[in-house]
């Protein structure tokens, strides 16, 4: 008994070490004064300072934020609408649509990216829309963000007392008033949580942005990828560390919001 619990915790720690060691190394080396190599030459914040004056980084950051904010806003609206339609209005085929909702989550990024590229190509040929660039990246991101928002919002809807809706109607509220004053405020933590997840996914995405981007629409992950080809610098470590910090914070906030009680 005692031995097996000791063994279990040792294994658990080993797995954690394996998971987090590479990330920890990147964080540590982002503070290393050495320009190259694996040698520790003292702590510095130089690399972070340099990031803020690097024009390429600035423009990639701008693109990433524009993409993340725009796509998240669109996905939040569309995902919530989808969740509401599924929960309240669709009687038939609900299970099917429900299952289909999860598919984009499991489809490999690369498959989605290639599919989007093909789709955008067709649209360009037929309708002269979707020139590769910011628009296509945003459209691509919205595609994989919607299921995440919809699933989080649906979970919250399912936990809501259906009598609340009836109580509001009984008290004289029109359909719009019920939505505006009861449904939406109660769903808001779920919508924000879903949007936080979607924001993180957009910020971290490389594959879709790489495939559906064009000149002048380089996001941060794509910038990192292209810089690495010229050699990994501590500046890249610093940038990666910041990107990671933002994602972790957004995810933690999303989890806290989801845990809030509906009733």
């Amino acid at each position: 008994m005692r031995r097996s619990s000791w063994f279990n915790s040792a294994v658990a720690w080993a797995v954690y070490a394996l998971l987090y060691a590479p990330i920890a190394i990147v964080v540590v080396f982002s503070f290393n004064a050495a320009r190259a190599g694996m040698e520790w030459q003292g702590a510095t914040l130089d690399w972070y300072r340099r990031l803020f004056v690097n024009e390429q980084v600035q423009s990639a950051l701008k693109v990433s934020l524009i993409v993340a904010v725009t796509s998240t806003a669109m996905a939040a609206v569309l995902g919530t609408t989808l969740a509401l339609a599924l929960e309240k209005h669709m009687r038939r085929g609900r299970e099917w649509v429900n299952g289909l909702l999860a598919v984009p989550v499991f489809v490999p990024d690369i498959v989605l990216a290639v599919a989007l590229l093909l789709f955008f190509g067709l649209m360009r040929d037929w309708f002269k829309v979707f020139e590769l660039g910011l628009t296509t990246i945003i459209a691509g991101h919205v595609t994989f963000q919607i299921p995440f928002v919809a699933m989080v919002v649906r979970a919250r809807l399912a936990g809501m007392d259906p009598a609340l809706d009836e109580a509001a109607r009984d008290l004289g509220a029109t359909s719009w008033q019920v939505f505006r004053h009861v449904t939406l405020p109660l769903l808001m933590p779920g919508i924000v949580a879903g949007a936080m997840l979607a924001f993180t996914l957009s910020l971290d995405d490389f594959v879709v942005s790489f495939f559906s981007g064009g000149p002048g629409s380089t996001t941060l992950p794509v910038y990192i990828y292209s810089s690495v080809k010229r050699g990994v610098t501590p500046e890249i470590h610093a940038l990666s560390t910041l990107l990671m910090a933002v994602s972790v914070i957004a995810t933690v906030v999303a989890m806290m919001l989801q845990r809030r009680d509906v009733r």
Partner: protein, 373 residues
């Protein structure tokens, strides 16, 4: 609950705020199951009307149809003479107190109570005094700033009540409003609801499966079973003159004695039963000789060892005596039949009524009820 301010009370009572409800042939089917199977009901303006029945009898469906939260497949429903079935819930002159209270968890008590008035677009100046008055009426003023999660069950119930009556509906619908509360609180709120209804003059339609609650609060009670209304009457009449076995057994305990009519002399029937020949007062129905009937008698109307034996007196054996406080319950066997009797413990002598002893049981003709089935 608080005294209603003088002006409000007098205005309400003179206006006859309550509306009458007329339901005719209402049908509501869920697949093959008919929750309402041709319900016709007439509720008078300003009365406290209870719909009583076992779970699944359709009582909640009837309430939801009146509220407009559920639709009827056939029939008609009017409130104050105005046809209602085509009118959506938010436009009907009724408000509901839900079984689960259904308070809005994201709003404070005050915002919950003001919800209906705000949705109607009343100005904050009009809303505030009415909300304060309603909260005062059910004594939740001190909780105004709290969220529903911070309230006890009884307080939530009061908020739900205030949220409904603040709109001054013509009809207040109550769906098992006290079911979730403990017994003591339930008894207290029964009294309060009853006096609130008298003061406001609204029509209250109250759904319950608790017969004591219905008897204690209502002007009239409709007993429902299997999607139909079985009998509508005052509580006392239902108890003393139940129409059939279902009503007799659903409201209080009852001895049922099957028999055959052997003779009729004016207003008096003679019925042959396992207990012996019983003389019964006939109702208005015509019961020819040799028709099968069921007689009912309440345990507290059964007399033991009467000073003067009557025509319906028989010798019996006392099987069991159970002391339950104010009352003592007896089980007797007369011929092959088991009968229950209840006596005030005070009147039971210390010695004579012991299990195994022989007694004389009297079933007074005035206490025997002839049931329809």
């Amino acid at each position: 609950m608080q005294q209603v301010p003088e002006a409000t009370a007098s205005r309400k009572s003179s206006d006859h705020l309550g509306a009458g409800i007329e339901g005719v042939g209402l049908v509501r089917a869920f697949g093959a199951f008919r929750a309402l199977d041709g319900v016709s009901v007439s509720i008078r303006p300003g009365e406290f009307f209870s719909i009583l029945g076992p779970s699944g009898c359709g009582k909640t469906t009837l309430l939801r149809v009146i509220a407009g939260l559920d639709s009827a497949d056939a029939g008609s429903l009017s409130i104050d003479g105005e046809e209602m079935l085509a009118i959506p819930a938010n436009k009907r002159p009724v408000n509901t107190v839900f079984q689960s209270y259904a308070l809005f968890p994201h709003l404070t008590v005050r915002d919950n109570v003001s919800f209906g008035l705000r949705m109607k677009g009343l100005s904050p100046g009009e809303v505030a005094p009415r909300v304060e008055r309603a909260m005062e009426l059910v004594e939740i003023g001190p909780m105004a700033g709290r969220k529903p999660a911070q309230l006890s069950g009884g307080q939530k119930q009061r908020v739900a009540l205030a949220r409904a009556i603040v709109n001054e509906p013509r009809v207040l619908l109550l769906d098992e409003p006290l079911a979730a509360l403990d017994l003591r609180l339930r008894r207290q709120l029964q009294t309060e609801l009853r006096s609130l209804q008298r003061r406001l003059g609204m029509t209250f339609v109250h759904v319950t499966h608790d017969q004591e609650e219905a008897l204690a609060m209502s002007d009239r009670i409709a007993v429902m079973n299997a999607g139909r209304i079985v009998q509508v009457a005052s509580g006392r009449e239902l108890y003393e003159r139940p129409k059939n076995r279902f009503v007799a057994q659903f409201l209080g305990a009852c001895n049922l004695i099957p028999g055959t009519v052997t003779a009729r002399a004016g207003n008096v029937l003679t019925v042959a039963t396992n207990v012996g020949p019983l003389e019964v007062r006939a109702g208005h129905g015509t019961l020819p000789a040799s028709s099968q009937v069921t007689l009912a008698i309440r345990p507290e109307r059964v007399r033991l060892n009467p000073e003067v034996p009557g025509r319906n007196s028989f010798s019996a054996e006392l099987r069991d005596a159970m002391f339950t406080g104010a009352e003592t319950q007896f089980t007797l066997s007369v011929a092959e039949m088991a009968l229950r009797a209840v006596l005030a413990s005070e009147s039971v002598g210390a010695g004579s009524l012991r299990p195994g002893s022989a007694v004389v049981v009297d079933l007074p003709a005035s206490a025997l009820i002839v049931l329809e089935d």
